[in-house]
Symmetry: C2
Subunit: 155 residues, 2 copies
């Protein structure tokens, strides 16, 4: 596939980046994946402004990635916390792949967080595999081909 001859916007990477948006959006998602779900807690932990956090959470709700669930502490007014939707949970491999890269290249050999498989206690990674179950270790092993939604450019 000569990628240059296809519409650059007809691309699932591009569409997903449209949802992940910017740095803050990814960090907000990481908080929720890691169990920090309440507005005030996320805000304090990330050191992000209320207006930025409000906007990013609203966008993630609009995009169907997060949903609000009410909770109420005794003596306090009702508030919301944020939970991943089924769609949102499907973003986990993106964050795990980012974590793998950062662990390998940006943490000086000392990863800050380990993601462990509860069954066996071993670390979890985002591994490229094909539908036959083969592990794909290098780019030379893969090729791109047009799918049904490809949009060839005219000319």
């Amino acid at each position: 596939m000569d990628w240059n001859r296809y519409d650059a916007g007809a691309c699932s990477v591009s569409r997903t980046v449209g949802i992940l948006g910017d740095r803050w959006t990814v960090l907000v998602l990481r908080e929720v994946f890691n169990g920090v779900r309440r507005f005030g807690e996320i805000q304090e932990h990330l050191g992000v402004s209320k207006s930025v956090l409000t906007q990013r959470l609203q966008q993630l709700v609009d995009d169907g990635v997060l949903e609000r669930q009410p909770y109420q502490e005794p003596g306090d007014r009702a508030r919301h916390e944020y939970r991943l939707t089924d769609r949102g949970r499907d973003l986990r491999p993106v964050l795990v792949a980012m974590m793998d890269f950062g662990d390998r290249h940006l943490s000086g050999g000392e990863p800050p967080v380990r993601l462990l498989h509860r069954d066996c206690g071993q670390q979890v990674h985002a591994q490229l595999v094909c539908d036959c179950g083969h592990r794909v270790e290098t780019g030379r092993e893969v090729a791109i081909a047009p799918g049904p939604g490809a949009e060839p450019l005219a000319g």
Copy 2:
């Protein structure tokens, strides 16, 4: 691990997001992964301004993700094209995980591009697996734990 009690900046996701930067950076990387490597070609294909593209490419070179290689067309001056470094190639799972998500949720059942394993022709995905080789299918199967680089907050 109570993530809220650790420094939010000591995180490999956060560090990788610092390299991936914004939407344009990811799209430039996608171009290079897909074999579109020359400044003019990337610029035309993405419809990005020269100044934005120059800045993003320079940043990716500075971060050790891309490297410049000279090339020269007959009768033309010497130019550079951009190649992934070994470090850059390690970002492939991030882009494949984004592609998987977009294929599944944002492409109306018609993925634009297929990533195929050359050996068997089957599609390649970013799959969560643990070091024992178990496939991890749901978030309930994973737990986070502090690694050697974790930074507990005071108090």
